[in-house]
């Protein structure tokens, strides 16, 4: 089985978010970038397939040269080869088109992408990629087994979960649950050394079909101070929620 894991290069989950250039650009100053957490669950599941079922695992990212340390980390975790499509990721559709080209040319059986990236949260790339490559698609995937060309997946739905059967080629939007958090891997020294020797191919972009463009950003308005209610006066809390906040 040939697996491709799509890797987004995103600000670390604890990052404070700021903007520059008149609130039109994300401010990368002091921001640590990491593998998108949803992708990391997918990468770990791919490693499981590699070790238990003999799959090959490539990783891909659409982005500039600054994303290569993130791809190298994925190689250090155990991926066999990395691909970087050399263009800035501007919108979900154009990213999906670049990835679709990599998928079609690489002949992948299984593509694992994160449910959404934790920066723009569009949650659209996995589905668009499936649509563009005419693959089966499972969103919000929290469990995946593959037997030959058949797959069984569990996906989270509002208020529960659903078990589905499908066939390869398959694209999933994976998330926490695909593997346990305790199974996530930290690259060891050997992995880091080996990653240096693994191929990282840079492809030039093919598509320019950008359909959406973020033109400005805002941060939420500063919040007023919390109104503290005495623990012995819960009547006041009920009254505030009813009369002031009007939520009950």
């Amino acid at each position: 089985m040939k697996i491709l894991v799509c890797i987004s290069h995103v600000p670390d989950t604890t990052s404070k978010i700021n903007f520059t250039e008149g609130d039109t650009k994300f401010d990368i100053n002091g921001v640590q970038f990491v593998i998108n957490p949803n992708d990391e669950f997918g990468l770990t599941r791919a490693m499981w397939f590699k070790e238990k079922q003999g799959a090959s695992v490539d990783v891909v990212n659409v982005g500039g040269v600054e994303t290569e340390p993130t791809l190298r980390k994925a190689l250090a975790i155990g991926a066999d080869a990395a691909i970087r499509v050399n263009t800035q990721a501007t919108d979900g559709f154009s990213v999906a088109k670049e990835l679709a080209k990599v998928v079609s040319e690489g002949g992948y059986d299984l593509v694992i992408a994160g449910r959404e990236s934790i920066d723009y949260n569009g949650g659209m790339v996995p589905g668009m990629l499936a649509g563009l490559t005419n693959s089966n698609f499972v969103a919000n995937c929290i469990g995946l087994e593959v037997d030959g060309t058949n797959a069984k997946a569990v996906r989270e739905i509002d208020g529960g979960k659903e078990t589905v059967s499908t066939a390869l080629p398959l694209v999933i939007g994976g998330q926490k649950g695909l593997v346990e958090e305790s199974d996530l891997r930290i690259p060891n020294m050997r992995g880091i050394m080996m990653a240096r020797k693994k191929p990282l191919t840079v492809l030039e972009p093919a598509e320019t079909g950008v359909k959406t463009k973020a033109i400005s950003f805002e941060k939420p308005a500063p919040k007023g101070a919390v109104k503290l209610v005495d623990a012995d006066n819960i009547d006041e809390l009920v009254s505030l929620l009813h009369n002031e906040a009007k939520v009950i």
Partner: protein, 320 residues
């Protein structure tokens, strides 16, 4: 020219989010001098959509669509959009709508923006505001394609009754092979889901153990709320992952979010930033959550929550 909305239903009954997307679409239609057509699948009470602004309902009745399937549903909506020459399509941000919208976008070569929280600030260029960086910020995004798909965040626009009537037409799209077959669904049908909830009651490690969740559930029941939890609680296996709220869990956009025994890590706060009113109950007055909250009670959850349940019950009885 028209606006299409996909209105979700469950067991034949429209979800609140369905009425919200119709209300939202109506506000765009009024600006554009256009009209709203609702696409419904196996739902009843179709006339009710007129009250929220739909002037036409395309009703699909097909047993093959009894179980949700993203590809077949997307195809049905695509065919409706083509028939109506739609230039705006509005869906909700439920798990199902977010599943089908990217497929629909590919089918129609349409620009799609999800997690939208307001009516468009401009129609030309078509510009919408949506949450980004897991609710730590907002982005204003232009959609440049002829057909635009907007994914509206639940509870962001509200319901607006307009008192209109909708004409109803049967619609029979041709359905593609689904490719993904549902084997089983495991869903608590009597529980409010986090995505639909107007109120969410959430518990953290301060509750000390899963055996103490009874009072969280009781408080949720009094409020008609969904229950949720912090990441450590789901990691410890006290509650299912589907209740985990935060950056790698579920985002919450409720009107009221009550956090009990949750200190407020940055990843958790990111997940609840879109909630309108936040109440925190925690013994630690220094807990970071108090900085993000509107109302706070510094106190022991085991004393405060039973009192709150009792007071809310009395309030409900007095206001019934």
């Amino acid at each position: 020219m028209s606006i299409i909305v996909y209105t979700e239903s469950e067991n034949g009954k429209f979800k609140k989010a369905a009425l919200e997307v119709v209300s939202y679409a109506k506000s765009i239609a009024d600006q554009m001098g256009s009209s709203v057509t609702a696409v419904v699948v196996n739902a009843d009470d179709l006339e009710s959509l007129g009250n929220y602004g739909a002037s036409k309902v395309l009703s699909i009745k097909n047993d093959a669509l009894n179980t949700f399937n993203a590809k077949t549903y997307a195809s049905a909506i695509e065919q409706a959009a083509k028939q109506e020459a739609a230039n705006v399509i509005v869906v909700s941000t439920s798990a199902d709508s977010k599943y089908l919208a990217p497929l629909l976008a590919v089918g129609l070569e349409a620009g799609y923006v999800s997690n939208v929280i307001e009516a468009p600030s401009s129609l030309s260029p078509f510009t919408v505001k949506h949450t980004a960086f897991t609710n730590k910020a907002f982005a204003n995004t232009e959609i440049s394609t002829d057909i635009k798909i907007v994914g509206l965040s639940n509870n962001s626009f509200g319901l607006v009754e307009s008192g209109g009537n909708a004409s109803i037409e049967d619609f029979s799209p041709s359905l593609p092979e689904s490719g993904v077959n549902v084997e089983s669904v495991d869903k608590a049908t009597d529980k409010v889901s986090i995505a639909d909830a107007e109120t969410v009651v959430s518990g953290g490690r301060g509750l000390k153990g899963p055996e103490n969740w009874g009072m969280i559930e009781e408080l949720a029941e009094v409020l008609g709320a969904a229950t949720a939890c912090s990441k450590p609680v789901s990691d410890l296996g006290w509650r299912p992952h589907s209740e985990h709220v935060g950056q790698t869990g579920k985002p919450v956009a409720s009107n009221l979010y009550i956090a009990i025994g949750i200190s407020g890590a940055i990843q958790h706060l990111a997940g609840i930033n879109s909630s309108k009113v936040k109440v925190v109950i925690n013994t630690d007055a220094e807990a970071p959550f108090f900085k993000a909250a509107d109302y706070g009670v510094v106190g022991d959850a085991f004393e405060v929550v039973p009192k709150l349940i009792e007071k809310l019950k009395a309030f409900k009885a007095a206001n019934a």
